[in-house]
Amino acid sequence: MDQPGLAPEKQLDATTVEEAIAYLRNEYADAVTLDDREGYGGVIIESKRLVEVARAIRDGLGFDYLSSATAVDYLGAGDHLEMVYHAYRTSGGGALVFKAQTDRERAEIPSLVSVWRGADFQEREAWDLMGIRFMGHPNLKRILMWEGFHGHPLRKDWREAYYEEDQKPFDNRWPGGQVYRVEERNVFGKNVTYPPDIDLGRLMDNSETAVYQSLGLGVDVERIMDKDGFETNELVVNMGPHHPSTHGVFRMVLTVDGETVTSLEPVMGYLHRNHEKIGERNTYLHNIPFTDRLDYISSMGNNHGYVLAVEQLMSLGRKYNPPTYRCEALRVMMVELSRIVNHLWAIGFWLNDIGAFFTPVLYFVQERERILDFFEAVAGSRMMCNYMRFGGLFGDLPERLKSVSNLTNDRVRDYNTMQFLTEMINERIPRTIDELERLLTQNEILIERSVGVGVLTREDAINYSAAGPLLRGSGVAYDIRRADPYSIYPELDFDVAVEDEGDMYARYRVRVSELRESVRILKQILPRLEATAGESIWADGKPGAYAPRVPHGEAYGRVENGKGELGYYVVSAGGRGGSANPWRYHVRAPSFINLTPMGIMSRGYKVADIVGILGSIDIVLGETDR
């Protein structure tokens, strides 16, 4: 406090991140130390006092938004587990990164759910995949794997069923490539170990009671299910995983009182493939096409977040050229086009959910097709774009969007690229948005279905780490493109869409405004592309290396994706020359974290509204389950 350079108490929440760290080290001298590992930042908090300090960070310093909480296993490099938290201010600015460490054997860290409810699912994930017990967590259950799963897969010494080697590229592919089929290495072969005391019968138990009991619903399932004293005041209803309205294999277990929902528990993991473990086996470059498969509606945005994170790390080294201006402009264009795709899709399918079956969505998909055609001609694929590279891109725009006939009955198209883009951005997309508004915004049925339904208050939205349109629909004008800008967004002119009501309709309106803002951005990109025509997308004129080595350190790359904040926490544990494979690769998935408030958003509404509420959050299971 009386330290020079520190702001007076009442302005603590307006300090810079450095000042905030200095304040913490001063105030909690015995609990807070600087993280001075090479390439790292932030502070390490002694885990006993974590909750206390976290509260000070939230209330005193004003870092009210917990963006990401994840764990890292430093096996062989200190042999501890570490929780890493990234907290931001909803008023904007950089991250306050703080960490807590614990022993690998008896891994325990106090839960921060009492400070940020948004830590709920993320801590469950860390327990599930890393095996850290969070003391004081209200419902510490596995979240992506099933109860009864043996081990914690993200630990460095855990091996998957088809384990080959710790890191790619695998040795046996070249020069003596012994081809084999993956199934030949049977899952139930020698690769799998069962714990000695396992009761395989229990895993087979699919009785009603067993199915619901592990969910921690706070309901006495036995009582409800009991045939003799059958009570109908409260029922447990299971929606999913195979349900047309859950947008994929996703399950919700509701308890209902009549038609009214009294509690809701999302159950996920049906599409879990341990993306992060795969990512840690991969080289840095290998991960780019894998990110496409997260939120497969907007793969360009996924690429962007990841390359930003790795570029941050690369910039710590000596040989790093930042992307050229043309490259940045192209990236922003692609990302904004995928935002349009994403929102058209989100609105369309949300309408399906609330009953406007497929007419609107087909009108929007028609526009989406054009954008995907463009992606296909530029990046090579409609959805799995795999377009961005570290410091560059896969390729510049082709002069013409031209197809070549190859199969029987092929029909050929051929457009001038810039003309196609100009027409699309200036005419088609705005026309579709106008049409969308004419069709929906004043539609009385839509308004009655969605106004006042699925309300998330401003305070809850922040506290539950909601992101994207869900957060902005609750009156928080937080858009990473403005709050913590990256790429060329600072020089672009656009507004952050925000609505105060916090209901489904507000989220819809936020998405519509964002569509318009994206068009506004795209219109500014076009002249920039024309001005830079002919310039290279690579700073040194030639494509990057196929096996880049990345310097030691940590990085958190975050972008405002269609669904919300998409963050990549990447740790490189290389020695002198850097590493070829990430030590830790974590995805802060908006679709996953946005489900944290699903329970409170649904309470008190009718069963029929639940699908609509889920649709208004806009999730993609590829990203939720990872």
Binding site: E164, K168, P169, F170, N172, R173, W174, P175, G177, Q178, V179, R181, V182, N282, H286, I288, P289, T359, Y363, Q366, E369, E376, A377, A379, G380, S381, M384, N386, F394, P398, L401, K402, S403, V404, S405, N406, L407, T408, N409, D410, R411, V412, R413, D414, Y415, F420, E423, M424, R428, E435, R438, L439, T441, Q442, N443, E444, L446, I447, Y546, A547
Partner: protein, 279 residues
């Protein structure tokens, strides 16, 4: 007034319905005729009507950059000196850069000297695992592996059809030039010749020894381009693959029987190795 929003929306759907016919009439039903221009109109930015395609009676031809399961380039049959020769030098970069690791390559050995030859003995891609990312094609320094456009790969039995071997993977160079003319041209500019980069190197070496050597078929911008080409040809990895042996003794001039023999031996060796590993 209550209901106006609804009515407006219904009118809009009606307009969509009508548009789909108006468009047809405006273009005099040309939209459905099988010529390039008409299809571009129908799918173009100006169309308001129906843009759907009646697969498989009509297929949308894919753009040049479209990527599907890779193939290997071999020299055309009518090539004067290198007919049927692989472009691949077995450098292994594609196998390393492949994210799901679905490429297996057996590097060939010269039966006499025992030295590796710049040609793969066997090459497999498991197309069930291939994620069509295109990295192999992007990072191959010899332009030897390319992404295909043929997406109609359905088969009845994946266990027998989905590991593509070298024979299945190989397609002539002229095929690549026909499905992606622009890109083939761009690659030629970088290499400095329409020929394989080794041919260009050989020619340069010949020229350096001031022997009369036939110049490569005149590409534009040759000087600048060959400078780039030499850069591309010598990444660290490529140097691991040895340069072709002295002229005249290049492995691909031997006759088919010998070649077949070599292939058989290699497969035997491979089987022995596999058996050993299995024990």
């Amino acid at each position: 007034m209550y209901g106006t929003g609804l009515a407006k929306g219904l009118l809009l759907t009606l307009r969509h319905f009508v548009d789909s016919y108006v468009d047809d009439i405006r273009y005099g039903f040309r939209k459905y005729h099988h010529s390039t221009d008409n299809f571009a109109i129908r799918q173009g930015t100006k169309t308001k009507g129906v843009i759907t395609v009646q697969y498989p009676d009509e297929k949308v031809a894919v753009p040049e950059r479209f990527r599907f399961v890779p193939f290997l380039i071999v020299e055309d049959e009518d090539h004067p000196t290198r007919s049927g020769k692989d472009w691949c030098t077995s450098c292994g970069i594609c196998a390393k850069v492949c994210p799901p690791q679905c490429i297996w390559i057996v590097r060939g050995n010269d039966p006499n000297t025992g030295r590796p030859v710049p040609e793969p003995e066997a090459f497999f891609i498991d197309i069930d695992i291939c994620m069509n990312c295109g990295f192999c094609a992007e990072y191959c320094p010899f332009d030897a592996i390319k992404m295909d456009h043929d997406y109609e790969l359905a088969s009845y039995d994946r266990t027998t059809h989905h590991i593509h071997d070298k024979e299945r993977l190989s397609k002539p160079n002229s095929y690549w030039r026909s499905i992606a003319p622009t890109r083939a041209y761009e690659e030629m500019l970088v290499r400095g010749t329409w020929e394989h980069i080794d041919v260009a190197k050989e020619a340069r070496r010949g020229a350096a020894r001031s022997r009369p050597a036939a110049p490569p078929p005149a590409p534009q911008a040759e000087d600048a381009a060959t400078a780039v080409a030499s850069e591309v040809a010598s990444p660290a990895e490529a140097s691991a693959a040895p340069a072709p042996t002295a002229e005249g003794a290049t492995p691909w001039t031997e006759d088919d029987a010998k070649r077949e023999e070599r292939r058989r031996k290699a497969l035997e060796r491979k089987a022995r190795r596999a058996a050993k590993r299995g024990q």
